[in-house]
């Protein structure tokens, strides 16, 4: 059958690109492999040249996949499943890119794209010795990723899932696809998840995936070093790469937190959700690796652990991908998981990269140089090693707990029936119980370790400074705890450790480094971490809900149950107390597809009862016919705290418009200006009759006439509402346009204009009044800005270090000095 209007060419071209990308990565990997293994320099060079050429083809193919997929989404070619499933006609232009990563195929594509870009940079910068082995590893990984997009059957086994599937091939059973003209019925796509229609979602995934992709560089170098038995030289090029990766991945993770805080309604930036954990754990191990790398560079120690950490980082990225993409987490996460039936493939790749890496590391373990002398207790390298170990423990605990659903699958594979392990009932407090003490240890370590020198330190100066800093930070911490009521032991421990870290690193920056920003990357990053954890402490320990519902409930002795009433019922127009605010729900407004609920906050001075501050928040809900209601919070930002609100329940207004008013329920009133109509719950005054030039209820064309009757309605309890029914003449035909005041149940028609008597006929019908209310939640987050500031400072620390590495390299190479030390 020939299907009408179907445009299959892009799909065919796209699929060709996928196959080319896959084949190209394989061929390039093999060519680089031969080049690496060859002893003869000319053979090496010619294979390398060939590998580069194939790489270029591979790169063009990836660009082709991206371009064609973009075209399909942009042109709304709904005959393609990807466009139909992830976009629709109303989707704003700026979110087109977000369609890419809503689907699994697009995420793999994004990852491949970054690998391809990073591969080019490596080709330019890695140098003759490293290019071939490092890119061999790169291209093997790239082949695995490309195969995820293949969507080709080998026997009965389907490898990958292509983004260029036609809708009719995905939904084979639907009878509509028996028709040649099926496309004329597919008017619109499924649309993008409203939660992803957010600017964070446009920038967060690319940065996060660049972070993930960049962890491949240290891994590939580590593997190449083990392969070529060149155990030390790889660290020089890896240092800037690992710093880059740490900065980008860290930024990506916290952007996810910012997105969650701004557009999700779980009330916070971090929930220890499996998806968040899966991205955090590789970062922790990566940071441990950066530290042991530095220790090795300066002291010769910790080389083996550096290998271990960089290999582990990438393995954990793969494992995280498996966790979040295989559907194995099922019941344990709020995130959406799409299982495309590729978990087998993911497990295979995980094993295919992890097992050789571990074997390679194990057989070379003894050959990796390690100094005979021990680290001194008073040396920086020793404490760096301890710190890396603590980071490892932190990552271990998070991964062990996040993997709980995996154990069920493993147990079932070994024949245990009904494995029913579930994640902890209260993940936040369980993870915090481990991570809080770890955080305290890291803060203390990251402060004093800088005061120790590599190899040997002068302990007299060290202790003098430590005592000084301890005294200062004790005073500061106690003061803060006094004002903030933070003497609860674990809180105080974290508070003291954060203040200690901030003080120590600031002192180090000013006194020891004499304020030279250029060399203060580590101090800046550690300082930022201290600021971050103070923010975490304040925003979680001092976070409080102000929207308590007292209506209709007698708490009596059960004040503890107050926690169960955090959602406040807000009838429209009623002023409710919330903390120091008087809060009024003023009504809603619609700007498709969003419904905004306008909530006025007024801060009342407790003694004078005067309003000293007033602002309106607009928590919104997107009522999407296909996806239901999706709430979005709105937040008032202050320097010291945020007030975060979101609606939890709203009345269903979908059938309100459908409520037809029978013609005979209207009462006619012929009145002139100033006259009053009485209804059962209000009186209505005709204030004016006037020509209307512009209205959002009518699309005015030239020659049309629009007249409005301005009505002022006063209810029994003295509330004033205005209304304006319209009289519309279009092509000589008159038509009344009703005005409906739902909360009073009044419908007005301006049905006749009698110019001679300057009177009008207004018909009024009374229907059942609609209750207008929202149920909302409001939370105060103190110190949240410290969280963001801390993240920015920490990432800046990475960047400062990165710039320093480049500067030194450039100055060294420009004066032609052999590079001994980075």
């Amino acid at each position: 059958m020939i299907f009408e209007n179907e445009f299959t060419l892009p799909g065919i071209a796209g699929q060709l690109c996928v196959i080319t990308a896959f084949a190209g990565s394989l061929v390039s990997a093999v060519a680089y492999f031969i080049s690496t293994q060859s002893k003869d320099e000319t053979v090496q060079l010619s294979w390398k040249k060939f590998a580069r050429l194939v790489y270029a083809i591979h790169a063009i193919a990836i660009a082709g996949i991206v371009g064609i997929l973009y075209y399909i989404i942009h042109e709304h070619r709904f005959e393609y499943n990807y466009a139909w499933e992830h976009s629709n006609l109303q989707l704003p232009y700026k979110y087109l890119l977000a369609c890419f990563w809503e689907g699994q195929e697009g995420s793999f594509l994004l990852w491949m794209w970054w690998n391809m870009v990073l591969g080019f940079v490596l080709m330019l910068r890695a140098g003759h010795k490293w290019e071939a082995p490092v890119l061999t590893i790169f291209m093997v990984v790239q082949a695995f990723l490309a195969s995820m997009l293949l969507g080709i059957y080998f026997g009965d086994y389907k490898v990958g899932s292509t983004p260029f599937n036609l809708l009719r091939n995905v939904m084979v059973e639907a009878p509509i696809f028996q028709r040649a003209d099926y496309l004329s019925f597919i008017k619109d796509g499924n649309g993008l998840n409203p939660l992803l229609q957010n600017y964070w979602m446009v920038i967060h995934p690319p940065i996060l995936f660049l972070g993930f992709a960049s962890t491949l560089v240290p891994f590939a170098y580590a593997m190449a070093a083990l392969w070529k038995k060149n155990f030390t030289e790889w660290l020089k090029p890896v240092l800037p790469w690992s710093l880059f990766s740490g900065a980008v991945l860290g930024t990506g993770i916290m952007m996810g937190g910012a997105w969650a805080y701004e557009s999700l309604t779980f009330g916070g930036y971090w929930a220890w959700d499996p998806v968040e954990n899966a991205s955090l754990v590789p970062w922790l191990i990566l940071v441990a690796g950066i530290h042991t790398l530095l220790a090795f560079k300066k002291s010769g120690h910790s080389l083996r652990s550096t290998f271990l950490f960089f290999i582990l980082t990438f393995v954990l990225v793969l494992y995280s991908t498996f966790l979040t993409r295989s559907g194995i987490l099922g019941n344990s996460s709020v995130h959406a998981f799409t299982d495309l039936g590729m978990s087998g493939q993911l497990v295979f790749y995980l094993a295919a990269l992890t097992i050789p890496a571990i074997i390679l590391l194990a057989i070379n373990w003894k050959k990796i140089p390690s100094p005979q002398t021990e680290e001194a207790l008073a040396s920086r390298e020793f404490w760096i090693f301890i710190g890396a170990g603590i980071l490892f423990i932190s990552a271990f605990q998070i991964m062990l707990y996040t993997s709980i659903p995996v154990y069920n699958t493993i147990m079932e594979a070994f024949g245990f029936k009904n494995a029913n392990l579930a994640p902890p009932v209260d993940p936040k407090s369980t993870y915090n119980a481990y991570q809080l003490p770890i955080g305290v240890l890291i803060l203390i370590l990251s402060s004093f370790a800088l005061y120790l020198k590599f190899k040997k330190s002068d302990m007299k100066i060290f202790w003098r400074r430590m005592i000084f800093i301890t005294v200062i930070s004790s005073i500061l911490a106690t003061t803060i705890a006094w004002f903030g009521d933070l003497f609860f032991p674990t809180w105080f421990a974290l508070l003291f450790a954060s203040v200690f870290s901030i003080t120590a690193n600031l002192y180090y920056f000013i006194i020891v480094l004499s304020g030279k920003l250029r060399i203060s990357g580590p101090a800046l990053a550690h300082f930022g971490f201290g600021v971050f954890l103070i923010g975490v402490l304040l925003s979680s320990a001092k976070q409080h809900t102000i929207s308590f519902n007292y209506r209709g409930i007698d708490f009596g002795q059960k004040m503890s149950e107050k926690d169960l009433h955090e959602n406040q019922y807000m009838p429209r127009g009623s002023r409710e107390n919330m903390g120091e605010y008087a809060v009024t729900y003023m009504g809603d407004s619609t700007s498709e597809p969003n419904h905004y609920y306008n909530v006025r906050f007024e801060r009342i001075d407790s003694s004078t009862k005067q309003v000293i501050e007033s602002f309106v928040l607009h928590p919104n809900a997107q009522i999407n016919p296909k996806m239901g209601l999706i709430a979005n919070p709105d937040t008032k930002h202050y320097l010291t705290h945020d007030i975060y609100t979101h609606v939890t329940t709203v009345p269903d207004k979908t059938d309100e418009d459908a409520q037809q008013v029978a013609a005979d329920s209207f009462k006619e009133h012929i009145i002139s200006k100033g006259d009053t109509i009485f209804t059962s719950n209000s009186f209505v005054i005709l204030e004016n009759i006037e020509k209307v030039e512009k209205s959002n209820r009518v699309n005015l064309e030239a020659g049309d006439l629009l007249v409005g009757a301005k009505l002022s309605i006063e209810t029994m309890d003295g509330k004033k509402i205005s209304a304006e029914p319209l009289y519309y003449i279009h092509n000589g035909v008159a038509e009344p346009i009703e005005e409906r005041i739902s909360e009073l149940g009044l419908v007005f028609h301006l049905s006749k204009i009698i110019p001679d008597d300057s009177k009008v006929q207004i018909d009024v019908a009374e229907i059942k009044p609609e209750k207008d209310y929202i149920v909302m939640k409001a939370i105060v987050f103190p110190g949240i800005n410290l969280v963001w500031l801390g993240v920015i400072l920490t990432v800046s620390g990475f960047v400062v270090s990165l710039i320093r590495v480049f500067r030194r390299r450039n100055s060294i190479s420009s004066i032609q000095v052999s590079v001994g030390e980075v």
Binding site: E85, A174, I176, F185, K187, D188, N190, N193, N331, V334, A336, T338, E374, E375, L377, F382, F385, I386, G389, F392, I393, F396, Q397, L400, Y401, I404, N420, L421, A422, P423, P424, V425, T430, Y434, N549, R551, G552, I553, E561, L564, H565, E566, N567, Q568, Y569, P571, A621, K626, M627, G628, L629, I630, A631, T648, T649, V650, P651, K771, Y773, V775
Partner: protein, 138 residues
């Protein structure tokens, strides 16, 4: 013995400690009739909404009281009380994970996780006008 080895052993000890303590931290997926639930312990129950039985939520009366009936995986039904507002589109949920404990006759949930595949992925093809066309043709 080197210091590094002592540190390594210490870390292994801590790691074993974490594994052991996980035994007390993990929870289990239970049914309404399992021993653990009957004993009033806090645990998680997976099931589906019983659409025939009433759902009770009146925001004006109590915005933080929502009750419904759920059928667990073995087919046992129980009333569930949730102290919070009714999640939007609860009727459309495909599966529900409750965290909480049994209190008298009803299961008191303090956390509801609902999986609503339609929210993220519409498996059904929704086509405007197709029904009418096929109706007139036949």
């Amino acid at each position: 013995m080197k210091k590094v080895h002592i540190v390594g052993l210490g870390m292994i000890a801590v790691a074993i400690g974490i594994i052991v303590s996980m035994a007390s931290d993990y929870s289990t997926y239970e049914t309404f009739t399992s021993e653990k639930v009957k004993a009033g312990r806090e645990c998680q129950v997976v099931g589906t909404l019983v659409k025939e039985k009433p759902m009770e939520y009146d925001a004006a009366k109590d915005a933080n009281y929502f009750s419904f009936y759920m059928k667990d995986k073995s087919g046992n039904e129980s009333k569930v009380i949730f102290h919070g507002s009714k999640p939007q589109d609860f009727d459309r949920s495909e599966s529900i994970v409750l965290t909480g404990k049994l209190n008298g006759d009803a299961f008191e949930a303090n956390h509801i996780l609902m999986k609503c595949p339609s929210k993220y992925k519409n498996d059904k093809l929704d086509i405007n006008g197709y029904q009418e066309v096929s109706a007139t043709k036949s």
